[in-house]
Amino acid sequence: MYIIVQDNHCTMQTKILLDEEQMPKRWYNVQADLPTPLDPPLHPATHEPVGPDDLKAIFPMELIRQEVTTDRYIDIPAEVQDVLRLWRPSPLYRAFRLEKLLKTPAKIYYKWEGVSPAGSHKTNTSVPQAYYNMKAGIERIATETGAGQWGSALAFATMLYDLECTVYMVRSSYTQKPYRKSMMQVWGAECIPSPSTKTKSGAAVLEKDPETPGALGIAISEAVEDAATHDNTNYALGSVLNHVCLHQTIIGQECREQLAMVDDYPDVVIGCVGGGSNFGGIGFPFAGDKMTGKHKDVDIIGVEPASCPTLTKGAYMYDFGDVAGLTPMLKMFTLGHDFVPPSIHAGGLRYHGDSPIVSRLVHDGVMRAISCHQSEAFEAGQIFSRTEGIIVAPETSHAVRCAIDEALKCKKTGEEKTILFNCSGHGNFDMSAYDAYYAGKLADYEYPDELIKEAIGRIPKIQ
């Protein structure tokens, strides 16, 4: 344990802080350390690998380059670093109070990403994405948001670079989470409930089902269509894609530095998984250490909701990123692009697919995945708030659950493992979810994978 002697008494160090000049100047690209290249994205119509030209209509060239490059490091532009310094480097905490409550010999550290203006890790990528679009002369960005975390993060970033921003927000979240919408308004973005009549794909869904509550896959279709049909407009995605996960690697890199300051290195690294960017963000630098043989034993665990268990129950195959089939097909773990996950409170984890890199690393056994029910996650979130104080987002509570379970395993075995998890965002706008938890009204949704697997031949093929 790292101890500071101060005024003749010992104080345990709770926060491990980096100076601003110690903030990483480069993003780490885990693609450089993969034994073989990733399977390429395929064109939705021709099923041929997509080239940069196919993506030019919706992404700026620099992000397309970052999507496919195998360079190990990519410099973070100085103008982006200036913005990131508003909240970065973010603190790494030692969860002494949680350890004490659990009576575990394990050391628990958490990386606190809720210090960003939008309250989550999402700004780590919204800022560079807005920056590169601004540099490419783009005037407006269209995107989708599920729970509102990404929409508000992009609203913040586009404001900084004087871009317009249109956010298609899944209709059920739009009505359930009014304050996320208000944040976007403060930062000057336009927020539209999806499906909407503004796009052909939205109108088609509404015509079939006027009562539809919407889904992330539908909102993606709308944002992509909006970007593809307006010359001055590009598209931005808050997770899944390689360049998004790349921007998040600043998290894991900082963690490694901060742990080194207290002479430590994690045995277990944990993140919750929806599209995979916060998990990849904390996990990829350690996955790199693992693949290059520096730390062969580090256990990197992604935690997903039992209701949308993409990595644990999905199939590893090519699938679309959206409902309408407008995006390139990605090789990833998927439950099928037509799968609409149930309304759980961790809205950010409701995505049918997953980051192709996370999928590949899980498939290859470099990282692994588990799932948990939402009431188990909220229970962990409550334990965390009552020991460490922070009320975490429902998404984040999945990572907390796993960290607690790993620490309890150590209690049984007596192992003094070092556990690190990504505390990706606060839950201050999710209090209605906590209310439902206390009222005993949280249903434990799960994916009936056995029934589906048995009948897989009879279920419409993903194509």
Partner: protein
């Protein structure tokens, strides 16, 4: 103006306090043992909360069968439409319900137990919604409000309330006194439910749309039903939706059997099920929780006996239910009559509640 048929079974619940496990045909014995009627008091607790509701008009029965409770509660907007003899009976309940029906009421509010619910349902059927103020010894039916105050809230907000299916159970009181709980599904009534935020499978809807979810469940079941497998399908409206989706008519209160999309047997009893499954390699059971307590085996689906379940194997029991139903049931109950089989269900079970989605529910046995 809402017209409410209001009826009290004055002797409901009397058998309970004196250990008679029910009052049917035993009022005299209950009185002899010192039981005092309390149904009227419970009804009063509901009515007192309705004093401020101006748009309610009650049709009721004379004396202890309704009128007394109304006057004691200070309600004046009522009309007596039925008068019973000195000692009230089940026949009076049915006769009063008949008069309500003729007069055209929007809902029948009754105070009693399972027996009263059964008598009223036998007249009202699915045409007239019903709601029970709980006062009986046994309340296995789903038509009861949680307590008298909850009943008042539902009546006061009837304009905004939606209707949902709830089972009316038939308990054999003779057998029950002898120690056997023989509960059968008597019918499926319509009961008001407060429109609130109900989490329905994929999303949270403003209003409960139970039919939509039943359709989703049916669509999913159709997708996962395997060719060559024999499907035993239990009672209820959720399972009814599945069979209807497959293009057949379902025995609402009974058990039907399907194979390769064809109806093999309708309203099958245990013997038929055993005979049909004898040579089958792959048998599956699709059931839905029955009654207010959420029984998945042992109540209302007795044809699906332990022997039948063993033919299929516990792994092949598929439980289906709408989220509307599940939100009121904290744990499901299994009481097949074979404790060893019940234990095989473990601590929790997967309940299919929508298209490609399930809930994990605790199981008690």
């Amino acid at each position: 103006m809402k017209r409410i048929g209001f009826i009290v079974n004055p002797v409901a619940g009397m058998g309970g306090s004196v250990g008679l496990k029910g009052t049917d045909g035993n009022v005299g014995e209950a009185r002899r043992r010192g039981a005092v009627p309390h149904a009227g008091e419970r009804a009063q607790r509901t009515l007192e909360q309705l004093k401020t509701s101006k748009d309610l008009c009650f049709l009721t029965c004379a004396g202890s069968m309704g009128e007394s409770a109304l006057t004691a509660s200070g309600l004046e907007n009522y009309r007596v439409v039925y008068t019973s003899g000195n000692e009230t009976s089940a026949a009076d309940t049915r006769a009063a319900a008949q008069v309500f029906r003729k007069n055209g009421v929007d809902l029948i509010l009754f105070c009693g137990g399972d027996g009263t619910a059964r008598d009223i349902f036998s007249v009202a059927g699915r045409d007239i919604p019903m709601l029970g103020i709980p006062a009986g010894v046994k309340m296995y039916s789903g038509v009861f409000a949680v307590n008298p105050a909850a009943a008042a809230e539902l009546i006061a907000g009837l304009d905004k309330a939606a209707l949902r299916d709830s089972e009316v159970m038939d308990v054999d009181e003779e057998a029950y006194r002898a120690g056997t709980l023989d509960t059968r599904l008597f019918g499926i009534a319509r009961t008001p439910v407060i429109r609130g935020m109900v989490a329905v499978s994929k999303q949270v809807y403003e209003q409960p749309d139970e039919e939509r979810t039943k359709g989703e469940i049916a669509q999913f079941m159709q997708e996962v039903m395997l060719p060559g497998a024999l499907y035993i399908i239990g009672a209820g409206t959720t399972t009814e939706a599945i069979v209807r989706y497959l293009g057949h008519q379902k025995t609402l209160l009974g058990v039907d059997v399907l194979k390769n999309g064809r109806l093999v047997a309708a309203d099958a009893d245990e013997q038929t099920l055993l005979r049909l499954t004898e040579k089958e390699k792959d048998v599956r059971i699709i059931i839905s929780p029955i009654g207010a307590q959420g029984f998945i085996l042992g109540r209302g689906n007795q044809q699906i006996s332990p022997a039948v379940v063993r033919r299929a194997g516990i792994r092949h029991v598929i439980v289906v239910a709408t989220p509307h139903k599940l939100q009121d049931i904290h744990e499901l109950l299994v009481d097949s009559g074979d404790p060893a089989l019940d234990r095989e269900f473990g601590d929790s079970i997967q309940v299919i509640c929508g298209y490609r989605i399930a809930q994990r529910k605790k199981v008690r046995h």
